[in-house]
């Protein structure tokens, strides 16, 4: 077998097949192992996913991209990343000191931008989603200052909304990174959450927000604003919120 022969099989067989799947097929072999460049490509993808998990959240990046919208910064009860990864219960609760700083009001909605498992996703897409969604809300709605939350899981939004008196909360959170997507953002909508009582079945979720490969901002914001309007009419989210939009899903496994 010559190298040019391998190249022609690659061209005739595997290149057309790869149009049908992102799976790492037709990698070839070196003995029983992988060819060097495929091994290194896998390591590069894994490194990007690992770095996304461990890169520190930089609220300044999101605040700057929000261009003057008021923000509040909070931390969860998880003091560091290592604890955060092992103690999801702590990531769901506000640091008590930060709870006191949250502005209480007659808020119709509060947006929480939470690092979750990928701060990269939040840095790249968080502010854009807050802006795109806010732009679609009725002008009469009282929108609370955007809460930027560190070491935070989805349910931290319950604590935030409850402390601020907000009628509903939208949590934009960095999703668990896969090797082919380390920057995917999820959005979780919950009406009148009660910390410790509200469950994942009470939320509606949009996932894989990551243009250009995943869902576009305008598409996601449109679906979300529609859900928010219906949630307000119905006074509920989650299993109770029936939606004719094809992308509406119930939250199943939030970060």
């Amino acid at each position: 077998m010559t190298l040019s022969h391998v190249a022609s099989v690659e061209r005739e067989l595997w290149l057309p097949l790869r149009r049908h799947t992102q799976a790492r097929i037709g990698l070839g072999r070196a003995g029983s192992g992988l060819p060097t460049h495929h091994r290194l490509e896998l390591q590069a993808a894994h490194a990007a996913a690992r770095d996304a998990v461990h890169s520190p959240f930089e609220p300044d990046v999101v605040a700057a991209a929000l261009r003057g919208e008021p923000t509040v910064r909070v931390r969860s009860a998880a003091p560091d990343r290592l604890t955060y990864l092992q103690r999801p219960d702590l990531g769901r609760r506000l640091d008590p000191a930060d709870r006191a700083h949250l502005p209480v009001g007659e808020w119709d909605v509060v947006f929480v931008v939470a690092d979750g498992l990928s701060s990269r996703a939040v840095h790249e897409h968080g502010a854009a989603m807050v802006r795109a969604t806010t732009a679609l809300l009725p002008t009469a709605w009282q929108v609370a200052p955007v809460v930027l939350a560190e070491q935070a899981r989805v349910a931290l939004g319950d604590d935030v909304a409850s402390a601020m008196g907000a009628a509903m909360v939208v949590v934009f959170v960095g999703e668990r990174p896969g090797m082919s997507a380390a920057d995917s953002l999820g959005a979780y909508l919950t009406y009148r959450p009660k910390p410790g009582v509200t469950t994942d079945a009470d939320r509606n979720c949009l996932s894989n927000i990551r243009p250009p490969l995943g869902m576009a901002y305008e598409t996601a914001a449109g679906k979300l604003a529609g859900l928010m309007g219906r949630a307000r009419e119905l006074g509920a989210t989650g299993v109770a919120l029936k939606d004719d939009s094809d992308a509406q899903m119930l939250a199943s496994d939030p970060a």
């Binding site: 049908h20 097929i25 896998l42 103690r87 498992l117 668990r176 090797m179």
Partner: protein, 462 residues
């Protein structure tokens, strides 16, 4: 409830129940800490092991870790306990049982299995080192069959997992071809579908059945959907080979999966009735994994490894073809890093095998766990030495549907090469018949040639 005490380093330690003692004796892992069950210190952990070593095996029959009246898995364990088989070890303590297991031969291990409960096996595993877990599991051979025979000495089977995020048939077929050309698929060709819609599941079943029939591949397919979906599809005449279900070690955790023992009984009878196996009649496929009961808030204060072992009592009832723990799938809040995942993999494999199950593994991690491809290689090597029945393989070790990292087809080739392991005999004969087996029994590298199987792919492109 009994209390258990021990003294270590001048400190006296007290454990208020058998469940507390088992949890405190468990090796360090993040899930037990999350559940508030872990030992408070390294010394307390060892003190618990000293106390556990003296507990007679009969104590596990007298004091269920989850009450008999409230949990049907406990009832299953106690009601089906084989006292005759237990007699060989009935006089032993947990510490004595460890020594008995290390000294026993394959015949003695097979004979005692029906007399053991999951709690006894979980308990003894807590006194064992990683090497002990390998040494004992290696002696246990559990042989099952459908269209291929799994678990024979010197063999390692693989599950070919051609998942696709939208169940696109062309994408699945492309990944299926990739796996077959790398000699994979003798345990099962198994897809995790993106939805549980009966139509989508049936389409995939028919696609797999078509390839298996057309190329006369001695293997079985499975589209991993809920047991009720499989039952409806069997009734509708879909080509179901194996019935799949995720199971756990408590009634409440199984309820969170939407299953009961009664439902599993029904599915088992239905699948047996189809008679689709050619060399055997094992028709069930179960997946398990540490942390699922805690995740469902259904662990009853029992540590995650003991609850996992109880899931094997559920599996054992149905004489399954395949059982695998998806060991690192749930995430670092249950198993933090490569070290914890390896330990759990060895424990699960050991407990399953000693209880009489055809144990395989999905050796895997998520990207937020502290693990990498070297951990996969380490786990594979140890589990290969321990005699795992099968491992799950994905293209390049990267599952694009479930977003986690598993072993690759190349990893399975490596393991067969370094340990001299061969595929299931029927599959090996088929591999030879289509020119994929080299003279030394190895899988030939056909990546540079137009192999006949590539017709699967060429038709896609056309």
């Amino acid at each position: 409830m009994s209390t258990y005490t021990s003294t270590l380093g001048g400190h006296s330690y007290r454990f208020g129940s058998l469940a507390r003692l088992l949890a405190a004796a468990s090796p360090e892992r993040s899930g037990d800490r999350l559940a508030g069950l872990a030992a408070a210190s390294a010394q307390e952990r060892v003190a618990a092991r000293w106390a556990l070593a003296d507990v007679p095996l009969t104590a596990f029959l007298a004091e269920p870790v989850i009450p008999y009246d409230t949990d049907d898995v406990t009832r299953l364990i106690l009601d089906t306990h084989d006292t005759g088989a237990f007699a060989a070890v009935a006089g032993l303590s947990v510490g004595g049982f460890r020594e008995w297991l290390l000294a026993a031969d394959s015949g003695e291990l097979a004979a005692v299995a029906p007399g053991l409960t999951p709690e006894m096996v979980a308990a003894v595993s807590k006194l064992m080192g990683n090497a002990d877990l390998v040494a004992v599991a290696r002696k246990v051979r559990v042989v099952t069959a459908f269209r291929s025979t799994i678990g024979l000495p010197g063999r390692l089977a693989t599950r070919l997992q051609p998942n696709h995020p939208t169940d696109d048939p062309a994408g699945v077929a492309a990944a299926l071809l990739d796996g077959l050309l790398l000699g994979s698929g003798d345990a099962v060709i198994g897809i995790n579908p993106a939805t549980d819609s009966p139509k989508a599941v049936r389409d995939l079943l028919e696609l797999l059945d078509g390839v298996i029939q057309r190329y006369a591949i001695p293997t079985q397919s499975c589209v991993l959907s809920h047991v009720t979906t499989s039952m409806d599809l069997m009734a509708a005449g879909a080509p179901v080979d194996l019935v799949f279900q995720s199971i756990a070690g408590t009634q409440a955790a199984n309820a969170s999966f939407g299953v009961t023992l009664g439902l599993l009984d029904e599915a088992y009878e239905a699948a047996k009735g189809l008679g689709r196996g050619t060399v055997g009649s094992n028709v069930m496929y179960f997946e398990t994994g540490q942390g699922s009961a805690l995740s469902a808030d259904a662990h009853h204060g029992v540590d995650q490894q003991t609850v996992e072992a109880r899931a094997y009592a559920v599996a054992r009832r149905y004489d399954p073809l395949l059982v695998n723990t998806v060991v690192g799938f749930i995430g670092p809040e249950y198993l933090y890093d490569g070290r914890q995942i390896l330990r759990a993999a060895l424990e699960d494999h050991f407990c399953g095998k000693v209880l009489g199950l055809p144990m395989g593994l999905d050796i895997c991690y998520t990207n937020h766990a502290d693990a990498d491809d070297d951990d996969i290689a380490t786990m594979l090597t140890m589990l290969g030495v321990a005699g795992a029945s099968f491992v799950i393989c994905t293209p390049g070790g990267d599952d694009i549907m479930l977003n986690y990292q598993s072993a690759s087809y190349h990893d399975a080739l490596y393991l067969r090469e370094v340990l001299g392991l061969r595929p299931a005999p029927e599959f090996e004969t088929w591999l030879a018949s289509i020119g994929l087996l080299g003279e030394g029994g190895e899988i030939r590298d056909v990546s540079g040639t137009a192999h006949p199987l590539t017709a699967i792919g060429r038709e896609l492109v056309a």
